[in-house]
Symmetry: C2
Subunit: 208 residues, 2 copies
C-alpha cells in the first residue's frame, strides 16, 4: 500500500481554512485522517477527548516532548499544545492523508521533522478581502481590527516557506478544496515518491 | 493573464503517450498548444506543413540554431529535427500550456533552457506490460523485440530526471490524462509561480 501524505495547512484568521478542509474531506473520509492536537488545558463542557483535543497532564505531555514524540508543540497561557507524532505516522503508514491545520511556526517545525510533508497556505484573494473578513459584523474597534490584520499579515509573510498557495475566494471554498485535492493527486505522482517503479523495469531488463 | 506551463512529456515506445495526450487535450483545445517540431527532411504525401512538422531548408534550420532559436535539436540520418523556441514562448505568454512530446535527451536540453518546465514521464505499469506492447501483433523476431526493449529501458533509466511519473495502464488512458491535468493544476498553485500575491498583502499592510 502507498503511504499517505502529511498535509500541513496554514492560513491567517479570515482565510476560511476550516471550511475548505471540511469541503476537501467531505465524502472522502476514508482517504483522510484529521490530526487531533494534544493539550494540557482543562476540558470545557463542549470538548470531547480525542475529538476536539487529546487531553493530558503536564507530566504526560513533558514525557512525550522528552521522548521526541511531539512533531511540534508550544506553550500558551501556561498550557501546552502540540501534535503527537505516533498517531500521525500510524495513519500515514495506513495509507491515509493526514491533515495538520496549524499556524506557521508549528508548520515549519513539522516540516523539519517530516521533510516530505506538503505545505499549503490558504489565503483570501487579497488584503482587502482579508480585512473585510476580519471586520466581520463590524462590532470591533479599528484598533482590534488592525491588531488582527497585523497577526494575519505576519502569517502571510511566511508564504514563501510553503509549497503551494490556494486562494479561497468568497463563495468558492469548493474550488479551493478541489485545488488542494489536485495538489495531493499530483504530489503522489512525484518521481521521488515512485522510484520503486524503476526497479521493476530493471528486473525485466536482466531477464533479457 | 497567467503564463501557461511548458509541459515536457516523454515515455518509451509502448507507453501510449500519444493516446494520453489526445485524452488530455480533448475538449480543452483552448488551454493547450501542441508544439510542432521543425525538420529539414522532405515532406511525405501525408505531411501537412505546420501540422505534422514545420518544413525548412538546412540553411534556415542552421540560422535558427546559430541564433539560439532552437530549444533543442538533433540530427538523424542527415536531417535536423528540433523545437523552435519562438512559437513556444508566444503560446506561453498567451496563457496556453504548451506540450512538448519529446525523447529524454531533447527533454533534458529543453529543461536546461526553461528551468520551470514541468517534466512528466509516461510509463506502462511494469516491464512485462511494456514488453507485451512492444511485441504488438507478434510478427517481429525476438531480436527486434529485445532491441526495442533496450531502447525503451534506456528511456526509463532517465526517470529520475523527471518531476512526475504517470502510469498508463491498459485501457486507462483517461485516468493518466486526468493525472496530468491534476499535475498542471497543482503546478499553477506552486508558491514560486504566485509570489506576486504577497505584494498585495504588503500593500494593504502599508495602508494601516
Amino acid at each position: 500500500m502507498n503511504k499517505g501524505l502529511l498535509v500541513i495547512i496554514s492560513g491567517p484568521a479570515g482565510s476560511g481554512k476550516g471550511t475548505v478542509i471540511a469541503e476537501l474531506t467531505k465524502g472522502r473520509e476514508n482517504e483522510f485522517r484529521y490530526s487531533v492536537s494534544a493539550t494540557t488545558r482543562k476540558p470545557r463542557p463542549t470538548d470531547v477527548d480525542g475529538v476536539t483535543y487529546r487531553f493530558m497532564t503536564r507530566e504526560q505531555f513533558e514525557v512525550l516532548i522528552a521522548d521526541g514524540e511531539m512533531l511540534e508543540y508550544a506553550e500558551y497561557v501556561d498550557n501546552y499544545y502540540g501534535t503527537p507524532a505516533r498517531p500521525v505516522y500510524e495513519a500515514l503508514n495506513d495509507g491515509k492523508n493526514v491533515i495538520l491545520e496549524i499556524e506557521t511556526i508549528g508548520a515549519l517545525k513539522v516540516k523539519q521533522k517530516v521533510p516530505d510533508a506538503v505545505m499549503i497556505m490558504i489565503l483570501p484573494p487579497d488584503g482587502k478581502t482579508l480585512e473585510a473578513r476580519l471586520r466581520g459584523r463590524g462590532t470591533e474597534s479599528d484598533e482590534v481590527i488592525i491588531k488582527r490584520m497585523r497577526t494575519a499579515i505576519g502569517e502571510v509573510a511566511k508564504l514563501d516557506k510553503y509549497d503551494y498557495i490556494v486562494i479561497n475566494d468568497d463563495g468558492c471554498a469548493a474550488k479551493a478544496a478541489e485545488d488542494i485535492y489536485s495538489i495531493l493527486r499530483a504530489e503522489k505522482l512525484k518521481t521521488g515518491r515512485n522510484l520503486h517503479i524503476r526497479d521493476d523495469y530493471f528486473a525485466s531488463e536482466k531477464k533479457n
